[in-house]
């Protein structure tokens, strides 16, 4: 909400400088987002009176105006069509800082000759003064503007732009903000006196009000003013509306807006003669009912929307917008003025249904009190009588089915200290609460206060709310700074599943960054297309959960896999990267418990809904040359065995040993993918990405991908390992070279060698095909380390074992020793 400092000064004396005031309000919860100073640059602009107007000797459209400045007279050239004798006008001396109306830039007024006549300054338009965009003519000041006074003193203002929190609709009003200032500065609050004459004829003989839905409309007040003459508002009123960012329209509408800004109560003026049956009915809209609102839009209504109707049809959408037919026009001579209270949720629903929001609905939406409408109605009636109307009907219609008693809350000084840590005595508390308009009564020999909450503070419901009031007015900066003194909760075991999980995640992150992987974090929401691209046939195994109101199609589904994010990131970065890229992400995937079957999707009942399983996964990709371009580095691209090596080393660091099965994951290329097996369970996959998948992500190189299910992995690492004694006896190393059929996998060889108890370690140190090896065969060079936990091995023992080993390798796999 924008509010003028000058307007605030009508209700409270303000001695603080504007910046200080803004700071105090902000600290107390009413944030001043911006401050705009009007007239801060008007040092050389004064108020003058036009005392003579003569034609310009050389130009028909220009005039020579003589302006009395109190201290003397000056003559200036003026082209404004609206200048006339006797006007009070702003006069800028040479040196004044103004706005160039054509460029909008700040300029300093210089002496000038206009068509041969010297001008000693100029009479200014609103635009030249920076007040508004208006440049059709000069700014004409009210007749009471003091001649000779600096314009800044008369018209200058400071506009605060306040960010009012949703709990404080009372601060969407000048009086509400003034009350805050009064409480913060200790100054008294002055409310406008309300008094006006009424005619003999009672309002009841003009109109009646029937509330059909008392729950949705707790109160409806109305007054009636006759002899209305629609005209522009006086300049002070226009200025006030302008200063608060509202456009002046005519005297009637401007008065309703003025009072809304002043009290925070929206008002609506109906053209009385357009109301059929002289009746106001507050009811729900009918099914299929429509209304054309004042913006000219025909709107479809429904029974969730509350309307104000006459005997025949809706004349306004309650609290949101008036109807075109009953709008005040130039011909209006009698108005029925509405000041009512509507249910907050109803207004909110109505706004969202009609996609409408305005100054009135914003206030109702925050929840106004049903005690509020009467005073603003009287204030508006008074102003209308002063500015637009002739007579007010006797009395006020006040239908009030929803009256509620003021809330009573007990507060003690002890409670203030218990919550805030700030010691405030009873008198200090009373002072703050009274200044804010709370009625307080001390009881229990002064240790307890019974606080009656004023109607405009619907946000105050319990003692904690009062504690905040006390502390924020005294100032949050006064709250002491202490450290938590309460005992520490019992610490969770490091072996608890949640501790283990975060521990595992941190370990993995450290290991992978150590291996040269860059961590990335990608969005939880992805497009369906991206998930589909993970399969060459564009099939989805798990239907992902959909967001009902996505921002974009790119972020419409909750990811069921991290793969898409990694491949897309790789694709995005590939064009900038010279060297190979290693990326990983550790994050959640979202797996619905009840994958909706497409046909019955619509029928799925509420009971079936569950939160999805949120599963922690690790995914990593490698692509491009193994090392950066360098005079010494390995220039070969990453391949399957790099990825497999990452998996083996990663698991090794976690104290686990992996084995690998031929995998059939569809993201991976057939024959180049493997399942990662730990203790007979599949914990993940590793392999080359299927070329079709790579293509779909616009990737050209071979991409190796690793994916590990962290929940499964967690079950493996949580088992506490048993210590193995360091071997005490020397080991014996033997190298063998086997020639074997191409079809026989290395693992089968390894398994046989491994099965001999004396074998401690096996290392494949060469794989050879070519010269000296027959076609269809390959040669494995293997180093075997033998060791016994109980004694020093003899050559005979090792020879014997190796002989048996070679015999089995020959028997079972057809392997022969390479000569």
């Amino acid at each position: 909400m924008k509010v003028s400092l000058k307007w605030l000064r009508d209700y409270v004396d303000i001695k603080l400088a504007p910046e200080e005031l803004a700071e105090r309000l902000t600290m107390a919860g009413l944030e001043v987002k911006g401050t705009q100073t009007i007239g801060g640059t008007w040092d050389n602009v004064v108020i003058g009176e036009v005392i003579a107007l003569n034609p310009h000797p050389n130009a028909d459209r220009l005039k020579l105006a003589t302006v009395d400045l109190g201290t003397g007279q000056v003559t200036t050239v003026c082209g404004a069509p609206n200048i006339s004798l006797g006007q009070r006008v702003p006069f800028a001396h040479i040196g004044a800082r103004l706005i160039d109306p054509h460029t909008g830039e700040a300029i300093v007024l210089k002496p000038a000759k206009i068509r041969g006549v010297a001008s000693e300054g100029m009479v200014c338009s609103e635009k030249e003064l920076g007040i508004s965009e208006s440049h059709e003519g000069i700014l004409v000041l009210p007749a009471e503007a003091p001649i000779g006074a600096p314009l800044g003193a008369y018209l200058g203002d400071v506009i605060f732009d306040l960010d009012v929190t949703p709990n404080r609709p009372d601060c969407l009003s000048v009086i509400g903000i003034s009350r805050e200032i009064a409480a913060l500065t200790g100054e008294p609050l002055r409310l406008p006196p309300i008094h006006y004459e009424e005619t003999e004829e009672s309002i009841d003989s003009f109109a009646s009000v029937d509330i059909v839905e008392p729950d949705l409309c707790p109160r409806y007040c109305a007054s009636l003013i006759t002899g209305i003459k629609i005209a522009p508002s006086p300049s002070w009123l226009q200025q006030r509306l302008n200063s608060c960012g509202m456009r002046p329209i005519n005297n009637v509408v401007d008065v309703t807006n003025h009072v809304m800004l002043e009290y925070g109560q929206p008002l609506h003026a109906f053209d009385y003669h357009k109301l059929k049956g002289r009746q106001i009915i507050v009811r729900r809209a009918g099914n299929g009912e429509t209304i054309t609102t004042i913006d000219g839009t025909k709107r479809a209504l429904n029974p969730d929307i509350l309307v104000i109707a006459d005997k025949e049809e809706a004349v306004a959408v309650a609290g949101i917008m008036g109807g075109l037919d009953s709008e005040v026009t130039d011909k209006t001579d009698t108005i029925l003025l509405e000041s009512a209270n509507f249910n907050q949720a109803t207004i909110r629903r109505g706004c969202s249904h009609l996609q409408l929001q305005n100054e009135a609905s914003i206030r109702f939406d925050k929840g106004l009190n049903s005690e509020l409408p009467l005073l603003p109605l009287k204030r508006a009636t008074q102003l209308l009588l002063e500015l637009a109307g002739d007579r007010a009907a006797k009395g006020i219609i006040d239908v009030y089915p929803g009256k509620s008693e003021p809330k009573l809350i007990l507060l003690t000084a002890r409670e203030v200290e218990r919550l805030s840590g700030l010691k405030v005595n009873i008198n200090g508390i009373l002072k703050v609460l009274k200044a804010l308009g709370f009625k307080c009564q001390e009881s229990n020999s002064g240790s307890q206060i019974s606080v009656s909450v004023p109607y405009w503070r619907g946000d105050i419901k319990c003692s904690a709310d009062l504690v905040e009031e006390v502390v924020r007015i005294i100032g949050y900066e006064k709250i002491p700074i202490t450290r938590l003194g309460s005992p520490l909760p019992q610490q969770k075991s490091n072996l608890s599943p949640s501790a283990q999980q975060s521990n595992l995640k941190e370990k993995l992150r450290n290991i992978l960054t150590g291996f040269g992987f860059q961590e990335i974090l990608t969005y939880s929401l992805v497009s369906l297309e991206k998930l589909q691209k993970l399969s060459p046939k564009l099939e989805l195994k798990i239907p992902p959960l959909k967001v009902a109101n996505p921002m974009t199609r790119e972020q419409e589904y909750l990811r069921t896999s991290l793969r898409a994010g990694l491949l897309a990131t790789l694709s995005h970065n590939q064009k900038f990267e010279q060297a190979g890229v290693r990326l990983f992400e550790i994050g959640k995937v979202f797996l619905p418990h009840h994958p909706p079957v497409i046909a019955s999707e619509a029928k799925q009942s509420q009971e079936e809904k569950e939160l999805p399983q949120e599963k922690e996964m690790l995914c990593a990709v490698l692509s491009g040359p193994r090392a950066e371009l360098s005079w010494q580095a390995d220039k070969e691209p990453f391949d399957f065995f790099d990825a497999k090596g990452v998996v083996e080393n990663l698991l090794n660091q976690l104290g686990l040993k992996a084995s690998f099965d031929i995998g059939d994951d569809e993201t991976l290329f057939q024959g180049r993918g493997a399942n990662i097996i730990v203790e007979d369970d599949k914990v993940g996959i590793v392999g080359d990405v299927h070329p079709r998948v790579a293509q779909a992500f616009e990737l050209s190189n071979t991409i190796c991908l690793i994916e590990v299910d962290l929940e499964k992995l967690l079950t493996k690492v949580t088992r506490i390992k048993e210590y193995q004694p360091i071997p005490r006896f020397p080991s014996v190393t033997r190298d063998i070279a086997l020639v074997i059929d191409e079809q026989v996998s290395y693992r089968r060889v390894e398994n046989i060698i491994q099965s001999f108890p004396l074998v401690m370690q096996i290392t494949l140190f060469d794989l050879y095909r070519g010269k000296q090896i027959p076609d269809g065969k390959k040669s494995f060079a293997i180093r075997i380390i033998y060791q016994s936990p109980s004694h020093t091995l003899t050559d005979e023992e090792v020879d014997q074992t190796q002989e048996q080993m070679l015999a089995r390798l020959h028997q079972e796999l057809g392997a022969t020793l390479r000569s």
Binding site: T165, P166, L419, P480, L488, L545, K609
Partner: protein, 344 residues
């Protein structure tokens, strides 16, 4: 033969004196002590001689062999010494050639700052827990004093899984605060925990807004916890993260699930409080919302608000590296351009 041996010895020593480097020394060794050296030949030929001569000649030859071996050893030492004090030209390196590259792996800046934040609170006795990203309306709103149609719902533009289903609707949590409720449902005071995690908003993205971001939620509940404790805790946190000098502002603000409510801002580092585009010309940058847990929230999880009190806070994570490194666009975080990520 003895003469011959003597000559051999003298000649070998002469040659040894002329040896200047290890390569020449090796050649000398092969020539004089190798399998085909004259000395070896003499030793082999001894077998054919009569016993007396064989004994004499053998003793002499072996003595010379030992002498040459020890001379060799000496020379070796000398040469090594010389090499260490003035190495050969060929052994010099062009030390300006670049080193062999090692792959540089880094953590995402968000992960780095999350760890930093969590460590600060862990030192204050807070335990770290996590919670679900997909939540019930109940935990995200209802239980936090934001029922259906509450005006404060405007503060949280929501991405829904189920639209318009009341408290049984699923949504992407708009903040980490639902974990306050989940925590208090399963634990009794004293409670002291933080919850790092992702949060989501239905929001058009721009330089300062993302539809997904990280928060760290904090909660402490026990007897006698005050707003002053909250102030102390958060001031400590700000000092740890932003340094001793940075100004901190603790002002009244509104969040439906706390009362009294607090906003913490730190002095803008870009303009030092003078006002700039980064801080919206206020000189301050909001980093977290906080307050005393609302008595209705405590009562909802069966913690007696008359006996117990607590504070809660919710901290925007990306803000911190943005301030620290002068990052002017939050969208850089999750678009994962390596040219950005490698800078941290």
């Amino acid at each position: 033969m003895l003469e011959q041996l003597k000559d051999l010895h003298t000649q070998a020593l002469d040659e040894l004196n002329k040896v200047n480097n290890p390569r020449e020394l090796e050649l000398w060794r092969v020539r004089h002590l190798g399998k085909k050296s004259s000395l070896t030949k003499i030793l082999r030929s001894l077998a054919a001689l009569p016993l007396e001569e064989r004994r004499k000649g053998g003793a002499q030859a072996n003595e010379i062999k030992r002498a040459l071996e020890s001379s060799l050893e000496e020379k070796e030492k000398l040469l090594q010494e010389a090499l260490l004090t003035s190495p050969l030209e060929s052994q010099r390196l062009d030390i300006t050639l670049p080193g062999r590259p090692l792959p540089a792996g880094r953590l995402h800046p968000t992960t780095q700052i999350l760890k930093e934040i969590c460590d600060v609170f862990k030192n204050m006795g807070f335990q770290v827990i996590e919670g679900p990203d997909v939540e019930w309306d109940y935990y995200n709103f209802e239980a936090l004093n934001i029922p259906q149609h509450h005006p404060a719902r405007d503060m949280f533009a929501t991405l829904w899984i189920d639209a318009g289903m009341g408290e049984k609707a699923r949504l992407l949590r708009t903040h980490t605060s639902p974990m306050q409720i989940r925590l208090m449902e399963r634990e009794r005071p004293p409670i002291r925990a933080i919850v790092p995690g992702r949060a989501y908003r239905y929001e058009a993205t721009d330089a300062t807004h993302e539809s997904m971001f990280y928060q760290v939620e904090g909660l402490a509940v026990d007897k006698g916890i005050t707003l002053a404790d909250l102030k102390g805790t958060l001031f400590d946190f700000c000092r740890c993260i932003f340094g001793e000098e940075r100004e901190v502002r603790f002002r009244c603000d509104y969040f439906p699930f706390v009362e009294p409510g607090v906003e913490v801002a730190i002095g803008c580092s870009a303009c030092d409080g003078a006002g700039c585009r980064l801080c919206g010309y206020s000189g301050w940058i909001e980093i977290l919302g906080a307050g005393m847990v609302h008595p209705d929230v405590l009562a909802r999880v069966d913690i007696d608000p008359k006996l117990y009190s607590g504070f809660a806070f919710g901290l925007g994570v990306e803000r911190i590296p943005m301030l620290r490194y002068g990052i002017d666009d939050i969208r850089l975080f999750y678009s994962n351009d390596l040219r950005f990520l490698r800078q941290f």
